[in-house]
């Protein structure tokens, strides 16, 4: 994927941002228009007719304003919820150009992968443009997605940690903090738990994640024995981005650690997907970063977690974002991660729920069954058993986005790049080398980024 246009856009936005910014003019959710020169304007998008026109309604202007589309860098939209519906095979499809589309997996043959989406109906994707399919766990989620502050408890007394407290705030499907702040929720962690979330940060990451806590208020560890009673919990701590440690915490017990690790690669990142698998019976906490198992801690003194909640405590003034929190019951199988292998680019690989991977050539996927041609012949695999499918990279053909394309971010995660034909409140008409012409529901998107037009034109 060519990330350059995105990076340029981000840099422009970063330069444009004032030291302080405030809220939109009205209490109603507002769209925000970003210009290439760094200017911004809140209001409501009325229409886009590339390559000429972006029509915008500002609350203090009687008539819509027509802007030159080539001067617009980005448009942000307030979060909207997606319609609830039953999906047989919910998945996220990653395209060879880096785009990611969510929906219900329908079928696959040697030429086409079909995805059913609520926002654009059936999308037919050329198989050579599809890199992988990651199926969302079919285990019923105990918690799935941050959708607001409801059910969460903001911590009090965080100023005792550093003297300069703030709050986590909700925005666009995530929590954000740029001062020490605590937020917690009883997510009913089961004895076998799979906890997944995304972190993004600026500067250095200093975050403590309390697991199996019964306290929705932060615990000042230096004063834990003098403060209010609390049940034991595990504190998973990210320090200065690269140091990670796990502390079992109990009142009136000396502080101890289950061991530290250093992940130097985090120094070069500003986001990571975190996975935690926990087993009370096995006294185990396993940590995955970006899908790879990085540490498997066993507590020799027994599992200390006494609650069923999680708590996130931001410990610095560097901005941090927490999103895509999902809690499910874990099957207890500790795989090594990297569900998408790159070791065998010539073959397709199916990862199944036991942790095993089967290589071969996917012939078809239909009616809930994968037909995989392996060295042992045609092997059927129930689609319900598949965690992920990686298609042979050697055959993949990423489509390079044309100059002047639009990169759209889905409100529920994922991105898609296309040529925008028109935007209206009742439909976004696009054309893509991946899926052809399609009409999207505007509510699907949280952001449109207008990639740089071709300088020759």
């Amino acid at each position: 994927m060519n990330k350059a246009p995105h990076l340029v856009a981000s840099l422009a936005l970063l330069l444009a941002q004032p030291v302080h910014a405030q809220a939109p003019l009205t209490n109603l959710p507002s769209d925000c228009l970003f210009f290439r020169n760094g200017d911004t304007l809140y209001g409501k998008l009325v229409a886009v007719d590339p390559p000429d026109l972006v029509r915008w309604q500002h609350p203090d202007v009687s008539d819509p304003i027509d802007f030159n589309a080539d001067r617009v860098l980005q448009i942000d939209f307030p979060q909207q919820s997606s319609p609830a519906r039953h999906l047989d095979f919910p998945c996220s499809i990653t395209l060879a150009n880096g785009d990611a589309l969510s929906g219900n997996f329908v079928s696959c043959d040697r030429q086409t992968v079909i995805l059913d989406t609520w926002y654009a109906g059936l999308l037919q994707l050329p198989r050579r443009g599809v890199l992988s399919v990651a199926f969302v766990s079919r285990a019923p989620a105990l918690f799935d997605g941050i959708t607001g502050m409801d059910g969460w408890t903001r911590g009090k007394g965080v100023e005792a940690f550093s003297g300069n407290a703030g709050d986590w705030v909700y925005r666009h499907g995530g929590f954000y903090a740029d001062k020490p702040a605590s937020i917690a929720r009883d997510v009913k962690l089961p004895p076998l738990a799979d906890i997944e979330f995304d972190l993004a940060w600026k500067g250095t990451l200093n975050l403590a994640v309390a697991l199996y806590t019964d306290s929705l208020q932060p615990i000042l560890l230096t004063e834990k024995d003098k403060g209010p009673d609390f049940g034991g919990f595990y504190s998973l701590r990210f320090l200065n981005s690269v140091f990670i440690t796990l502390w079992p915490i109990r009142k009136n017990e000396p502080q101890r650690t289950l061991g530290d690790l250093v992940v130097p690669s985090l120094n070069n990142k500003d986001r990571v997907h975190v996975g935690v698998r926990a087993s009370k019976e096995d006294r185990r906490i396993a940590l995955y970063l970006d899908g790879s198992l990085v540490r498997d801690w066993i507590d020799p003194a027994g599992f200390v977690g006494e609650g069923t909640g999680v708590r996130f405590v931001q410990n610095s003034t560097s901005p941090v974002k927490l999103s895509n929190l999902r809690v499910t019951k874990w099957n207890g199988v500790l795989d090594q991660g990297d569900t998408v292998s790159t070791e065998d680019p010539a073959h397709d690989t199916v990862s199944v729920d036991s942790g095993a991977k089967v290589s071969g050539a996917v012939d078809t996927i239909a009616r809930g069954r994968i037909s995989l041609l392996t060295t042992n012949g045609m092997t059927p695999i129930a689609l319900t058993r598949a965690n992920a499918i990686e298609f042979a990279r050697a055959r993949s053909q990423p489509f390079k986005p044309a100059a002047g394309s639009v990169r759209a971010t889905f409100a529920q995660g994922g991105v898609v790049t296309f040529e925008l034909l028109s935007w209206r409140p009742d439909g976004v008409v696009v054309v893509s080398p991946d899926f052809g012409k399609a009409t999207f529901d505007p509510a699907a998107f949280s952001r449109l980024q207008f990639l740089a037009p071709d300088p020759k034109s």
Binding site: L13, L14, F35, T204
Partner: protein
């Protein structure tokens, strides 16, 4: 406009030009053509050009990215900063602060129990209600403004610069990493350095006054952090001396202050004011040699801002005003509302009573049955009792104009075009100003602004996918 309105040519324009010429070679003014800046109370910003303003059509804005002029109603405008503002000059002898928050430089003609005779740069000699005046500060006879801005990066030098350090943007210098920003201002007399400082994370900013821009030695360094302000002196020879610090009001990881550093050579003192309140005055018992007369030649003449290497913070510096003066200290700029009038003397004594008039170079102060006639040259400031001030009116078209070199005036805006601004002032009545004499025009004066407490959407943008 009356006879002495405007005007062009700054009080110490010559000093500015000399400085600019000397340092022009070190400047890299790569900025595009300056444009007016329109900022809304929600933080959104547009660059373009103000075409007109009137009650019927609102603000007519020429936006280069738009196909037609835009007519904004003023309900959510925070301010307009004009690309070009021409300084005005009156050789002021005093600085008036008004009860409604306005302030103007000018000259006092007379005062009685009801009226103040005052000469302004925009309206000539006027009689205004005494009740509207909060204080009169008398400037030293050779008071001059040596720098006011910035309007661009010319005359400034950036050195030791990391990639994200000082750069000019929209009337401010913005720094996100270690680096120095300096300018030779030919500082030789006592001086007051004023600036706005805006930050969004823990920071450390050194401000060097009377700095030798080559060696950075023999300077007084004020160190601002998100927690405190402290002073140290780095002599040309010997160890630096620390004079201690004082907590910064409203300390925090984000904030905005207006700072003033007052260096009084005659008294060998350095004072720091934040938001017009004096935090501390440092005096070296050993004599503060660097600011005493006779040792001036040992000092530099420049001003340096040096951001230290604290990660994550972005600083914004703007609204610079550097003035020089000689003689007695500029008085405390703090104006507290009191029930009685008061006079500040050049020896720092104060007297409270009833000021009955100013005439023939003397101010008359009634202390019970005693009446004192005090020569104005013995007076640094007069504060008036707070009662009776007209309450300010609110409304979307009540604006406050800020002028180059200092001073601000609020009025009900009636019309603006590229030549003149017309309106109604509760103090001065009907008035008209040259549009070019206004640097910034503030709207919605009664709306809370700049709190900076809400978590900024934009601040987190780069965390999103």
């Amino acid at each position: 406009m009356k006879d002495n309105a405007v005007l062009g040519g700054l009080l110490a324009g010559a000093a500015v030009l000399v400085g600019a010429a000397a340092w022009a070679a070190q400047v890299a003014p790569s900025a595009p053509t300056p444009q007016d800046v329109l900022e809304f109370v929600d933080g959104s910003v547009l660059h373009g050009q103000v075409r007109n303003m009137d009650l019927e059509h609102g603000l007519t804005w020429a936006e280069p990215d738009a196909r037609q002029a835009i007519h904004f109603r003023p309900a959510h405008i925070d301010f307009i900063r004009f690309a070009h503002a021409r300084a005005v000059s009156l050789a002021p002898t005093c600085h008036l602060r008004f009860a409604n928050g306005d302030d103007l430089f000018g000259s006092i003609a007379s005062l009685d129990s009801e009226r103040l005779g005052f000469r302004t740069w925009f309206g000539g000699a006027m009689n205004i209600s005494r009740a509207a005046v909060r204080s009169i500060t008398f400037l030293s006879s050779n008071y001059s403004i040596v720098y006011e801005g910035p309007y661009d990066a010319s005359g400034w030098t950036v050195a030791n610069n990391a990639s994200q350090s000082w750069s000019y943007h929209d009337g401010c210098f913005v720094g996100s990493g270690p680096g120095t920003l300096s300018r030779d201002l030919s500082l030789t007399n006592s001086a007051t350095v004023e600036f706005d400082l805006d930050w969004n994370g823990p920071f450390q900013l050194l401000v060097g006054v009377y700095s030798d821009l080559q060696t950075r030695r023999d300077s007084y360094w004020l160190e601002f952090s998100s927690q405190q302000v402290s002073l140290r002196h780095a002599p040309a020879i010997g160890l630096p001396r620390n004079f201690g610090g004082v907590p910064l009001p409203g300390a925090g990881s984000k904030g905005k202050i207006h700072a003033a550093i007052q260096c009084n050579r005659q008294e060998g003192a350095v004072s720091v004011f934040v938001n017009n309140t004096m935090l501390k005055t440092w005096k070296d018992q050993g004599g503060f040699p660097a600011v005493q007369p006779g040792l001036v030649q040992a000092l530099g003449t420049g001003l340096v801002f040096q951001q230290e290497g604290v990660a994550g913070a972005t600083l914004k510096l703007g609204n610079f005003k550097v003035s020089q003066w000689q003689g007695p200290s500029e008085p405390d700029t703090t104006v507290e509302t009191a029930n009685t009038d008061s006079i500040h003397f050049i020896n720092h004594d104060r007297a409270a009573g009833k000021i009955t008039g100013i005439q023939n170079g003397k101010v008359t102060l009634a202390l019970g049955d005693t009446v004192l006639d005090i020569p104005l040259e013995r007076v640094t400031q007069i504060n008036f009792a707070g009662a009776g001030a007209p309450s300010p009116t609110a409304g979307p078209w009540v604006v406050r104009a800020h002028f180059p070199g200092g001073g601000s005036l609020s009025f009900q805006l009636e019309r603006w075009d590229d030549k003149m601004v017309c309106g109604q002032s509760p103090i001065f009545g009907s008035l008209s100003l040259q549009s070019a004499a206004i640097r910034q025009m503030e709207f919605n004066l009664d709306r809370p602004k700049g709190e900076g407490t809400a978590v900024a959407d934009k601040e987190f943008d780069s965390l999103d996918e």
